[in-house]
Amino acid sequence: MSLPEPAKIALDAFGGLKGWEQRARLLMQWGDQLSAFSESEKSDEHLVHGCESKVWLTGEISNGVWQFRASSDARLIRGLVALLLARVNGLSAEALQGIDLPEWFNQLGLGRQLSSSRSNGLNAVLQKMRQLTQA
């Protein structure tokens, strides 16, 4: 399956990392690139349930493909969410169904960093994306 361009960039960036500090810095940089949510956007409607920290998500479809925006009050989570967005933005609802989340983070070399509660949280984000596409 061909990857979206941002996903390729993410793979390049995270592929060659050594050590937790580099990884953490890069994660935070990726998180900082997400556009901030306004206070009114940080609504219960946009909140993803099942995350340790607060994650908000919105999505819209144009020309048959989905674009999501997301944010979190925790910086490293924001980075992880940014990496998820890089993988899924620009996909059709159908392609979104086929996303293997653990596989994506393994490819990035972040599989080991995902505690089960954290990967549950990211999974909750993906589930909410799928719900949005089914609504």
């Binding site: 500090e21 990884r23 953490a24 935070m28 340790e52 920290s53 925790a74 910086r75 490293l76």
Partner: protein, 401 residues
């Protein structure tokens, strides 16, 4: 000056964790186990498992003997004497649920159940749900800025309508000893039943249920260096007859026919089904081990470590310690830093601490915090563990700064 733990080598998992680059400071969640426990489990399983209180055969007799010995050891640990009975449950949570169901018939609509603002969910939800089932009022005692139940407020909130008081001995978030003697006296003066959640308290120092005078005292084996799946419920002789049977089946029955049954009194009547036999035997071995230690030396070591942990945190800029912890643990937040971010980076550096709400969501909400980091100590921790922790903390904060 380094603080060595002379008991560290008695816990084989600590060395194993060290080889994995892990510093274990999540002891309020669960503890590592002494070799004595591992040996007892191994001995039981390699020498013949058997069910207890049922069979006439030799393996059954051995298992029953070891099982009942553990009951005596648990009673001894709490200095229960012949003041009451020890009931084994499937955990502290299970014990508190047993109480909330077994004492339900004692409560009528309009009665009040009193807990405190700092209760762990295990000592909140069973009472909250009981209150909903029976139309009772759940009264929540406030805490002061130090993290101690406000005894003056308690004196007015505990009143003639109070049917039961259920409070923690030591807070799992704030590390504060609670004024049990005075709270229990207030409850008793109103004729209310008293339940103490000793899950954290029992791990630090020795406690005497006769001196406390509570009706029920609950603790969890796995937090006291014992096996999981096992809770201990002490019930005072005067209070046990109030407890109705809750779960049915197995050897808790005295006589049964198809339409009716009669049940045993405590303790067996409250131990439905096959109990966690190996865990009970293992707890006995753990208590033997703990009993063999110099209690003063353990307490001194724990206090010295705790002081160093607390002072180290207080010396750092922007760190806010929750309450005024007395012992065992410190919960804290850092100004401008999300606890999930800090937890993430501590985890990356092999520091095992807890982040989040610590199973006390209402307490964290009342403090206006989404969560906190908690470092919690055990008798096998040493000053090197704290050095690792602080080094990782400083690195994390530098990165997040």
């Amino acid at each position: 000056m380094p603080l060595f733990s002379p008991w560290r080598a008695d816990f084989p998992a600590i060395a194993a964790l060290q080889r994995q680059g892990q510093t274990y400071l999540d002891n309020a969640a669960t503890t590592q186990k002494p070799q004595a426990l591992v040996d007892a489990l191994s001995h039981y399983y390699t020498n013949g498992a058997a069910n207890v209180h049922r069979a006439q055969h030799l393996p059954g007799a051995h298992a029953t003997q070891a099982f009942e010995d553990s009951r005596l050891k648990a009673a001894h640990w709490l200095n229960a004497g012949d003041s009451g009975q020890i009931i084994f449950t499937h955990g502290a949570t299970s014990a508190l649920n047993l109480l909330a169901y077994g004492l339900e018939h004692e409560c009528t609509a309009g009665d009040e159940i009193v807990i405190s603002a700092l209760e762990h969910h295990a000592n909140l939800l069973p009472w909250q749900q009981l209150a909903q089932r029976r139309n009772l009022k759940l009264v929540v005692l406030p805490i002061d800025a130090q993290g101690v139940i406000d005894i003056e407020a308690a004196a007015t909130l505990i009143n003639p309508r109070t049917r039961l008081l259920a409070v923690s001995q030591l807070s799992n978030v704030l590390g504060t000893w609670q004024p049990l003697q005075r709270l229990l006296a207030l409850a008793k003066a109103q004729g209310a039943m008293t339940v103490v959640d000793g899950s954290q308290g029992v791990v630090h120092g020795r406690h005497d249920v006769q001196a406390l005078g509570c009706d029920f005292y609950v603790f969890s084996s796995h937090k006291l260096y014992g096996p999981e799946g096992l809770g201990v419920l002490y019930g005072r002789n005067d209070a046990l007859p109030c407890l109705t049977h809750w779960q049915y089946g197995g050897e808790m029955v005295l006589t049964a026919d198809y339409q009716h049954a009669k049940f045993r009194p405590a303790p067996l009547g409250f131990e439905a089904g096959t109990p966690p036999i190996a865990s009970v035997i293992g707890l006995g071995a753990t208590l033997d081990y703990l009993d063999s230690l110099d209690q003063h030396a353990v307490a001194e070591h724990e206090h010295a470590l705790h002081r160093r942990l607390l002072e180290g945190l207080q010396q750092r800029d922007g760190i806010q310690v929750l309450g005024s912890p007395d012992v065992a643990l410190v919960s804290f937040v850092v100004e401008g830093v999300h606890n999930a971010d800090l937890a993430h980076l501590l985890t990356e550096q092999g520091i095992a601490v807890r982040a989040g709400h610590h199973c006390a969501m209402p307490l964290l909400k009342s403090l206006g915090l989404p969560g906190a980091i908690r470092a919690s100590l055990a008798l096998y921790n040493d000053s090197d563990d704290l050095i690792n922790f602080f080094a990782a903390l400083d690195q994390s904060l530098e990165l997040l700064g």
